[in-house]
Symmetry: C2
Subunit: 169 residues, 2 copies
């Protein structure tokens, strides 16, 4: 990758190879939990491709992990979206919508077990076959801000737990 | 992007264009805070490229946001790394090291103000000029698990706050 141009990075593209695949019970966007916190324990398997398995060392002992993945079924980038938990159009960067300029997703899941080639996880909220880009440990000191004000989410009374087909019609 | 092959995604590459640039007081990896929680309020500016600015709508009211970015100064992928907060080699997926197969970083920062073309933030822990890929709102229901066990981090007594040059020699 070359140096950034004076006017920013907009002429550059960053490419990432997946490290594995996330397997879940959810074959279509419609019906997939909208967040791990609303996934009611749904289980999945995070399969690591062979060249990356050594990197799983020391994951045991973490109760939760971040999965960073590609929203591979999402249409590309709108700047205003109607999120699952609301009825009005919102700026995409104020939502967790799968439709976004760089379709990168991140989910905190519970780590049930670490195998040689895969991880068993719970509270999974992604579609089966999702390409995995990274795994990071969940560390409360870095990641947990329980009292943080959350804009329009704090006003939302939606109890919706599963996606519908709004982003895939 | 084509359909995934039977044996996973390993033959595929996912490409993302940046949406902007993160400006901070930290010009080199050596001396940059290792996490927002150890950044002691350091301020930065998240500059959005023109085509993406409309997506900032509704961000006001969020106390914190996630920045997802490219670790543009990190050497590429080792599977075992010596993290800033430890003295032994750890599996990379059990660390928050900038050196990882897909060099994607994520940081929770405090949102100070939303301007038309940029965001003022605090607790920033990235190098000046970092290419920004995505912004997501920090939502405690989705992101905050304060009591989550954190493996070797829970044993670490390191009070280290800033990076050294271990990943850039």
């Amino acid at each position: 990758m070359s140096e950034k141009p004076e006017d920013g990075h907009s002429s550059m593209i960053y490419s990432f190879a997946p490290i594995g695949t996330i397997h879940t019970p959810f074959s279509t966007p419609d019906g997939t939990p909208i967040q791990p916190s609303r996934a009611a324990g749904a289980k999945g398997v995070v399969q690591l491709d062979a060249p990356f398995r050594e990197g799983l060392q020391d994951l045991e002992g973490f109760e939760r992990i971040w999965l960073i993945y590609h929203f591979h079924k999402a249409p590309t980038g709108q700047l205003l979206v109607r999120p699952f938990l609301d009825t009005v159009l919102r700026g995409v960067f104020a939502t967790r919508s799968p439709v976004r300029p760089a379709p990168l997703g991140m989910s905190v899941v519970r780590l049930l077990s670490v195998q040689e080639d895969c991880l068993e996880v719970a509270d999974i909220d992604v579609i089966d076959g999702t390409p995995l880009l990274d795994i990071k440990p969940y560390v409360p000191e870095f990641d947990s801000y329980p009292g943080s004000k959350a804009g329009w989410f704090d006003e939302s009374s939606s109890q919706m737990r599963h996606a519908d087909d709004r982003f895939h019609r």
